[in-house]
Symmetry: C2
Subunit: 124 residues, 2 copies
């Protein structure tokens, strides 16, 4: 997987690695919902329906599915309070803190982009 290709310049090698890394990243946090759910939980732990309200447009089925994946990948924890009434809450793990930079750069860029498409002519 990491054999050296003599024909490729070093920069190409570096790019290949970056490409793979970004691939890995997109694999676990890509898709329409995952980052939004994580972001919603940054306000604090939430219950299922609270998350659904916070993440506009997501259905219960999809939310359920995404929460499971996020838990498997270690981003969130599902906590069950057994005292009646039973309450189930989702909260971020410390691992999801490692996404700070990603979230920050993404939201920064998104904000910039929105401003651009609002008052820039169609062609550059």
């Amino acid at each position: 997987m990491f054999q050296l290709e003599e024909e490729l310049p070093l920069s190409a090698q570096a790019c290949t690695n970056k490409l793979a890394s970004i691939g890995d990243a997109l694999y676990v946090i890509g898709g329409k919902w995952k980052l939004r759910i994580i972001l919603a939980l940054q306000e604090g732990k939430k219950r299922f329906n609270e998350i659904q309200r916070a993440v506009e447009g997501i259905s219960a089925r999809v939310l359920s599915h995404e929460l499971k994946e996020l838990e498997i990948n270690g981003f969130i924890k599902r906590v069950v309070y057994t005292e009646t009434p039973v309450v189930i809450e989702y909260e971020l793990t410390q691992y999801s803190d490692t996404l700070q930079d990603v979230l920050e750069s993404l939201s920064k860029w998104g904000e910039m982009h929105r401003r651009r498409i609002m008052h820039v002519p169609v062609n550059e």
Copy 2:
């Protein structure tokens, strides 16, 4: 859209904005291929088939479609050299440079994540 909700703490407002920004970002650069294509083009301008070879797994149909979207959104330029033989090349615009931070944080995180899942037990 930016009215103040009295019930929400300020942090919640900020989160809502971030969420929207990230939504905007994911809208244009989300999906399985767009960032990979951009990354591939960071090595330099490339022709259609070269891109297809660089971005492993993408089909001609999907690549064609993605290239169009990327062009519409101002990330790449399609350049036709009319001297025979006619050559068509794709290159990044300056606008795609604004994605540096995003790409950087994503690839960094992806690399870190890969290392983690390679030698960390299943549960945290």
